[in-house]
Amino acid sequence: MSQINQYRRKFLGAASAAFTGLSIAPGILLQTVHAKANDEAVTSKQRWGLLIDTNLCEPGCTDCIDACNQENGLRDIHGPETDAQWIRKVTLKHQKTGHVLNMPVMCQHCAEPPCVDVCPTGASFKRADGIVLVDKHICIGCRYCMMACPYKARSFIHEKLTDQLPHAPRGKGTVEGCTLCVHRIDRGENTTACTQACPNGAMTFGDLKNPESEISQKLAQHSGKELRAKLKLDTGVRYQGIQG
């Protein structure tokens, strides 16, 4: 690089730094949305979460589950008793009013995850951006996390698997659960397979720490409840239309 080019680069760098905090009007700052570069580590500046509006969730519809299974390569092996289930469709009926509630329940990506507390090897962990995952390289398949999870969100793989997808490694003897489509997030996509698949737009994915994000806006406007909030796990998945 020539000296002039170097000077140019420095000048432009300094100029862009000086204009970052530029405001259009008093009190309104121009904010740049910073997408994570491929070689950057995730930080706690983000916390990914989901908001599910149970009033929009159709009874009998399993589009989110089907999309999740396809995205992550979950296949029928021995039926629902032992197969992995990352999302379960739950139907609840209120005893007094008779109101029927449908909702998908998956890993709630708790801020205080019980699965991480009980894991003897440290395989169950929470990423800096709030996604709760299993490091299957060190998972010994003890299934303590499955016992500890109040949402029945984890599954154990009983059989030898074949034809796993490159972005979703899964194998016998390890525990797994919803990854919040972590491979998509790392690619910079701002959505999950289930969110995209919902025909009614009942699910919203986004950054809970960014007040400008759609999920934060919706939460600010209509609020959202945690499942089993009394456990104080501060879940990343919130629900609308449920009675706390």
Binding site: V42, P80, K93, D129, D163, Q164, P166
Partner: protein, 151 residues
Amino acid sequence: MRIFPILLLLGITQLQAAGLFGPDRDANGNIVPTPKGEFCIEPAEVMRRDHMNLLLHKRDQTVYDGIRTKKASLNECIACHVTPDETGKVARADEEEFFCSSCHVATSVSIDCFDCHADRPLEMIENAKIDEQPFTSGKPYTLLKSSDLQQ
């Protein structure tokens, strides 16, 4: 004149060793697979000795920090080193012709990477759907769980 067929046979063996029939083999008869790309991320000597360390380092970066660069990513190794042979067949992880297995069989070092990880690039998995089971449908689970809860 009896020596001629033996010489011919020896010649064929040599040709086999030179890779004209079947997969390429080195002087010891071990399979040497052909990669797709022009060069690897490090020279062959470094890769032979340190590929496991590079993979381990990258593994933890990816799992814990979400760093998904191409260098030393297992998926990228597979994308380049898993190629169809001249008949169009792609070796699977449990076969000797598979890139990793070719050395690991010779050195008797078993690896379990491919118990979980894909041994083919995504396009090949998508193209070979004939022998695969369908993806799980959410339908039976819904019925099961709903009835359980409503009882």
